[in-house]
């Protein structure tokens, strides 16, 4: 045990020198240099509040799911950060640093012209449709989990999906519908009064995927379930 602990110590010592950029709910995110390149390191740390068995299983599953889904997306031509290295003992993923990017959340909050946001949400709809066509369910779609890389030409919007920790593979329209439902709620609660913008996103999603009608139907069902749910007590 003592030996394996000392061996594990490589990554923690390295992270001590790294720049902590975010303390998320389940991971710390650092920026550092790895093999001479700028990287982002996502460290899933032990959550002391939960039962050790729950914690270990979740942490391992999420690390695995994250890298799997990233690869699956990239194979399909959907932008997601390149994985450079995974340490399953300390649950760290070393990822390409998407330099000069801003989150879609910050971008929307900085109040661009509506025209520009329209093109952006259409692009989001298109990318998500593509992702769902690959049967990747992101599981945590928010505007914070989409990065925008400013490009030279305005027509081309460079969108990168990140944070695949809650992702999984499923072909079920129900799972895809819930994925969109999660985004809808995060979108509308983070960006008040953007209902029409989100509708546009869904329209673009529908237009971009052949399988979208079943998904949108499920989305409507899930929404209705939310509204119809008895709320006793």
């Amino acid at each position: 045990m003592a030996q394996s602990n000392s061996l594990k110590a490589c990554v923690p010592a390295y992270l001590k020198e790294a720049q902590l950029i975010k303390q998320g709910a389940e991971a710390r995110v650092y920026r550092a240099t790895f093999l001479g390149r700028p990287v982002v390191i996502k460290e899933r740390f032990t959550k002391l509040y939960r039962h050790p068995e729950v914690d270990e299983k979740l942490t391992r599953r999420r690390t695995t799911q994250e890298v799997r889904s990233i690869l699956r997306c990239r194979r399909a031509g959907i932008n997601a950060p390149v994985v450079y290295f995974v340490d399953y003992t300390t649950h760290c993923i070393f990822l390409e640093d998407i330099v000069h990017s801003v989150s879609v959340r910050d971008h929307i909050a900085s109040a661009q012209t509506p025209q520009h946001l329209q093109a952006l949400v259409e692009k989001i709809g298109e990318v998500l449709a593509q992702m769902h066509d690959e049967d990747v369910i992101h599981g945590d779609l928010t505007t914070s989990n989409m990065l925008l890389v400013p490009g030279a030409e305005h027509q081309h919007i460079h969108l990168v999906l990140i944070d695949f920790g809650l992702s999984y593979i499923s072909a079920l329209p129900e799972d895809k519908g819930v994925d969109l439902y999660v985004l809808e709620k995060a979108f509308l609660s983070t960006h008040p009064k953007t209902e029409t913008l989100f509708e546009r996103l869904l329209k673009s999603y529908s237009a971009s995927s052949k399988k979208s009608s079943a998904v949108i139907k499920k989305l409507d069902e899930v929404r209705l379930r939310g509204r119809k749910r008895s709320m006793v007590g």
């Binding site: 394996s4 061996l7 594990k8 490589c10 990554v11 390295y14 550092a32 240099t33 790895f34 093999l35 001479g36 390149r37 695995t64 890298v67 799997r68 990233i70 690869l71 990239r74 194979r75 399909a76 031509g77 959907i78 932008n79 997601a80 390149v82 994985v83 450079y84 290295f85 995974v86 340490d87 399953y88 003992t89 070393f94 390409e96």
Partner: protein, 175 residues
């Protein structure tokens, strides 16, 4: 000529890469690697997109070596194994190791920082012409790489061939 890079995760280690073309003694070099006269990994440069690809494989090999989870016998064979997109060891050596007929060799050395590495000794053993490591991409066989790593054209829309290759290497344990 050669390329030296520290492993940030393992500060005691440094990786040195050397590249040779017009090599005439590949068979002999392989024997030297096997019997330990050359302490390094001999890689077929036609399968290497960039020196970074080698660094990714090496970093992972050192990591697995340290935690005692290597799939192969030695650090150097582990580097070769890590380059492969599959978990088939003999296949990995066939594709990424040097074969007798090869006339180019990419050599990877992992050494302690303090250790005085005798690069000249290695160079003297190779009957060939040393060229800068960053010219490795000129020697690669892109078609063969794409086929082996199963890189479809749409993937190259969101990144380079190097990105595609590295991503597969890093995730092959769970993919």
């Amino acid at each position: 000529m050669q390329l030296t890079q520290d492993l940030e995760l393992f500060p005691e280690y440094t990786v040195t890469q050397l590249l040779f073309k017009d090599v005439k003694n590949a068979t002999e070099l392989r024997k030297m690697a096997v019997n330990g006269e050359i302490k390094g990994a001999l890689i077929n440069p036609s399968m290497v997109v960039d020196a970074f690809q080698i660094l990714v494989a090496t970093n992972k090999a050192v990591h697995l070596h340290k935690i005692g989870k290597m799939k192969t016998r030695s650090l150097y064979s582990e580097i070769i194994f890590n380059l492969s997109p599959t978990n088939n060891i003999s296949e990995a050596f066939k594709r990424f190791g040097v074969s007798d007929s090869d006339c180019a060799v990419h050599i990877v050395l992992v050494h302690n920082k303090e250790e005085n590495l005798n690069v000249d000794d290695i160079i003297s053993k190779v009957d060939g012409q040393q060229i800068p490591v960053d010219q490795v991409s000129d020697l690669m066989d892109a078609a063969k790489i794409k086929k082996l790593y199963k890189v479809a054209p749409q993937e190259e829309k969101c990144g380079s061939l190097l990105d595609a290759v590295v991503c597969r290497m890093a995730t092959k344990d769970v993919a």
